[in-house]
């Protein structure tokens, strides 16, 4: 994460305001600013910038989805859900489905969350974070074989991720696969560095 990104967004916006028209329009610059603020953890400021964008173009589905996601981070799932409801399902994309999945989880609707995460993964199979979320929601529904398959797929791609392996070991234990769990726990407990 670089601290230069919000600064760059701000400079783009300022330059655009002061200078002659260029290839970067206002909306693009504001969107970049909002994203930069979001990535920097300045959630409230990011939300404000997204709302300005939507005020300009209420039909901007990409912005709507991004705002919905940030609103969720800001613990406003109801508002997030309200915004996503305005987006046609076909245009939700992977992010929209993932956010809907997270909202469903927040409401304790595990089956719905699983459905949304599955749709998100169908659109973005390489999104390992969503796959982890998917594996977790499967676990919480005690769908251990399916969850373990997701963990195995993730571990093939991230074999050195100790935290991922520990979570996998935990699920193996819950699934009653004690010997496999023991093996996985042991893999994560190599001798400590001096």
């Amino acid at each position: 994460m670089t601290p230069l990104r919000p600064l760059l967004g701000f400079l783009l916006l300022a330059g655009h305001a002061l200078a002659a028209p260029s290839a970067i329009d206002d909306a693009t610059a504001r969107r970049e600013l909002a994203r930069a603020l979001r990535d920097d953890g300045q959630i409230a400021s990011a939300i404000a910038e997204y709302r300005k964008l939507l005020a300009t173009d209420p039909q901007d589905t990409a912005t709507t989805i991004e705002l919905a996601e940030v609103l969720l981070w800001n613990k406003e799932p109801a508002e997030s859900a309200r915004l996503l409801a305005t987006v046609p399902p076909a245009k939700l994309g992977a992010t929209g489905q993932r956010v809907l999945g997270a909202i469903a989880l927040d409401q304790g609707k595990f089956a719905a969350a699983e459905d949304h995460f599955a749709k998100a993964l169908a659109l973005a199979p390489e999104d390992d974070h969503t796959r982890f979320d998917y594996a977790q929601v499967l676990t919480w529904q005690k769908k251990f074989p399916a969850a373990l398959a997701e963990y195995q797929r993730l571990l093939e791609r991230h074999p050195n991720d100790i935290q991922l392996r520990r979570n996998y070991a935990q699920v193996l234990g819950w699934a009653g696969q004690r010997n496999a769990a023991i093996e996985q726990w042991r893999l994560t407990l190599t001798p400590a560095k001096p």
Partner: protein, 724 residues
């Protein structure tokens, strides 16, 4: 950009992953120590205890000061029953932790499991008086057989928390253990075993509860080799060995426990009890003193010490131990009252005041329905009063409380056998010579018959009898046949009666058949004295003349017997004898018995005085040659006669168990010497032997010899009986 699940179960929210090196959001991270503990738990769940222990030890090598890891190691060792190692780890981990820390509660629970009741109690009494601590304290006290104290705590918890069903169950369990509530058949409160050793121990406990003590021991045997550190099994094995009277092996196990777990309360109690069961009362009392030195207020140790002192016949020590319990204002009030009653009952039974002891024990068993000692003593008192059916019922009550109570089992089994019909054969021999020709006969009686018990406490007997009577040095023998009937028993605690009748017909037609018999009734005057009023018609056949005259006497007897103290026994008997030849005799006899040595090697000094006075003396009729042709009043007819005797009575009890109803085995020897108003110095010797064999057989033999210048006598008796 992608969201992450903020992983805390049930609290899901997308969160950005800022600079995370893992795919897993930080909230769902599992640190190294937690991972190690999870591995340990998984290994334990898989039964790989040694691997789990190794993992914890590896963790502790990395972080020796990690209390969490050390406590987990202590818990793991405890779950394997490896008490010594676990206790060391607990002690190290808990040093410095406040007494309110929940780990102390876990430690106390383990100490309770290992029978370290005293230490557990100390920890729990120092902890906050919250419900969890109080519940465990009550369980610990119940484990130490302090049921009154445990129930008091549980009742207090229920007063404060009436809806606490767990404590209500605990209280019910305590009351069942205390015998206040009936035991549940086949009830098992055993949790699922945590390891194979525990599973084996549970199987052994199940066998023991069913009375199969050898089976239980066999179940535990492999653990001696495979898991010798498993303390609960070692403790149980020691208990079972003691219960099966394998005392050397039991003490070897207890020595091993002492070597690794010095001060273990349960082991200390088991040793003290085993020593008492082995009748090593001095060592047992010393063992109780050692427990009391550690915890002077331990009510169980005080009570058991008082009981063992009573068994050891150290009555004053026993009474002092009871008094220490009932005088202690800190002790549970119900326990104090029970101790007072038990002490009183012990004293009354000691003084052989069984009627009073019965009343006290009835009061005690009402107060403490689960007091096994009281039920056992009640059974003894009832047996001493002749109420063998009620004695058996008391044994039944005791066996309901403790199916493994060995002595109750023996007593009950013997009572059941004694309630069955018996075949009896006996032989009696009597020879007397002296007092002129007035005593000159040898008599023999052979009996064969049977006994039918009625309601256990009454009996009816019938015999076929044969007599051989040989007056005048056996010059001539007279044979007779007949039968005898007997009946009797205890009507209640203070009244008993018996009656007998015999018919005898001689083969010589010159001798008339005889009828003899009588009855008596005994009344116990609240143990101050027992009065017996009786009547009996008896043959007075001491020589040829009385044989042919068919002399008999009606005996009107009144006897008073009193035992004011255990060491002193007084008996007085007055008999008014009316002979069938219009003669009367007064016979007054008094005995004073002083107990010099107590059971099982009892020695009694007995002083006897007797007064005889006969209305008409014998008249010898002679022929011209001076030969006696007949005698009027052909029996000994002393006038204003006094006799004094001093005797020593020795009796050694050789039985395996010393309680009423147990198989008997003893011998006795009596030596007496005396003189009388005719200056006829006498000396006599008697011996007796009795043994109950193979549960159903009883053999008894007696001999007696008396020598004096004027009279010599000899007698012998033997009988053999078999209960079907």
């Amino acid at each position: 950009m992608t969201g992450r699940l903020l992983a805390a179960f049930g609290c899901l929210i997308l969160a950005p992953a800022f600079g995370s090196e893992s795919l897993v959001p930080r909230a769902a991270w599992i640190d190294r120590d937690t991972a190690r503990l999870a591995l340990v738990d998984t290994l334990r769940a898989a039964g790989e205890m040694t691997a789990a222990e190794n993992e914890l030890r590896a963790g502790l090598r990395e972080k020796p000061a990690d209390t969490r890891l050390r406590l987990r190691l202590a818990d793991l060792l405890a779950s394997r029953g490896h008490a010594a190692g676990s206790r060391a780890e607990f002690d190290r981990a808990l040093a410095g932790l406040p007494s309110a820390d929940p780990a102390w509660l876990a430690y106390a629970a383990r100490l309770d499991e290992w029978g370290e009741y005293r230490r557990a109690e100390q920890i729990l009494r120092a902890a906050p008086s919250d419900r969890a601590h109080l519940r465990l304290l009550a369980a610990t006290l119940a484990g130490a057989q302090q049921f009154e104290e445990a129930a008091a705590i549980q009742r207090q918890i229920l007063l404060d928390h009436p809806g606490d069903t767990a404590t209500r169950r605990d209280l019910e369990t305590t009351l069942r253990q205390a015998g206040e509530l009936p035991r549940l058949p086949n009830a098992s409160s055993q949790a699922a075993p945590q390891n194979p050793s525990e599973a084996r121990l549970q199987r052994a406990n199940t066998l023991a509860a069913a009375g199969d003590l050898p089976g239980a021991l066999a179940e535990l045997e492999p653990l001696r080799r495979n898991d010798p550190e498993f303390l609960p099994a070692v403790l149980r094995r020691a208990e079972l060995l003691a219960a099966t009277r394998q005392f050397p092996a039991a003490f070897a196990e207890l020595d091993a426990i002492d070597a690794t777990m010095p001060g273990n309360t349960k082991a200390a109690f088991t040793r003290a009890r085993a020593l008492s069961w082995n009748r090593d009362y001095a060592a047992s009392l010393a063992a109780y003193d050692a427990i009391l030195a550690e915890n002077p207020s331990d009510p169980t140790a005080r009570l058991e010490k008082a009981r063992v002192a009573a068994w050891a016949k150290r009555q004053s020590l026993s009474q002092r131990a009871y008094r220490a319990l009932w005088d202690d204002p800190q002790a549970n009030p119900r326990r104090r009252e029970a101790a007072r009653l038990e002490a009183r009952a012990k004293q009354q039974a000691w003084d052989r005041h069984f009627l009073r002891a019965t009343r006290t024990l009835r009061e005690l068993t009402t107060l403490q329905a689960g007091n096994q000692e009281a039920w056992f003593d009640f059974a003894q008192s009832q047996a001493a009063l002749g109420l063998t059916d009620r004695s058996a019922q008391a044994y039944d009550s005791l066996l309901t409380l403790d199916p493994l109570h060995r002595m109750a089992g023996v007593g009950r089994a013997q009572a059941a056998i004694n309630a069955r019909p018996a075949a009896i054969g006996s032989y009696w021999y009597w020879d007397e010579k002296g007092t002129g020709r007035l005593s000159d006969i040898t008599r023999q009686r052979i009996r064969a018959g049977g006994e039918i018990p009625v309601d256990s406490r009454f009996y009816v007997r019938a015999f076929s009898e044969s007599w051989i009577e040989q007056p005048d040095d056996g010059v001539e023998s007279f044979f007779a046949q007949g039968f005898a009937l007997e009946a009797g028993g205890a009507i209640n605690e203070w009244l008993s009666a018996s009656a007998h009748y015999a018919f005898k017909a001689y083969t010589d037609p010159a001798l008339a058949p005889t009828n003899t018999g009588g009855a008596d009734v005994s009344v116990n005057l609240d143990d101050y004295a027992t009065l017996t009023l009786g009547y009996a018609r008896e043959d007075e056949i001491h020589n040829r003349f009385s044989l042919f005259q068919g002399t008999q006497a009606d005996n009107f007897a009144l006897e008073a017997r009193s035992v004011p103290l255990r060491q002193l026994e007084l008996t007085t008997k007055f008999v008014l004898r009316r002979y069938t030849d219009a003669n009367w005799q007064q016979d007054v006899k008094a005995d004073i018995g002083i107990l010099l040595l107590d059971h099982p090697h009892s020695l009694k000094l007995v002083f006897t005085g007797q007064y005889l006075n006969t209305e008409h003396q014998s008249i010898f009729l002679t022929d011209a040659a001076g030969q006696t042709t007949d005698v009027i009043h052909p029996y000994w007819t002393p006038r204003t006669y006094f006799r004094g005797l001093i005797g020593l009575e020795w009796r050694q009890d050789l039985a395996r168990d010393f309680f009423a109803g147990a198989p008997r085995h003893y011998y006795g020897l009596v030596v007496r010497g005396g003189t009388d108003t005719t200056r006829n110095n006498s000396i006599s010797f008697a011996a007796e032997y009795l043994i109950d064999l193979a549960e159903r057989w009883t053999f008894q033999a007696q001999i007696g010899v008396e020598r004096s210048p004027q009279w010599n006598g000899a007698s012998a008796f033997s009988s053999l009986s078999y209960r079907f």
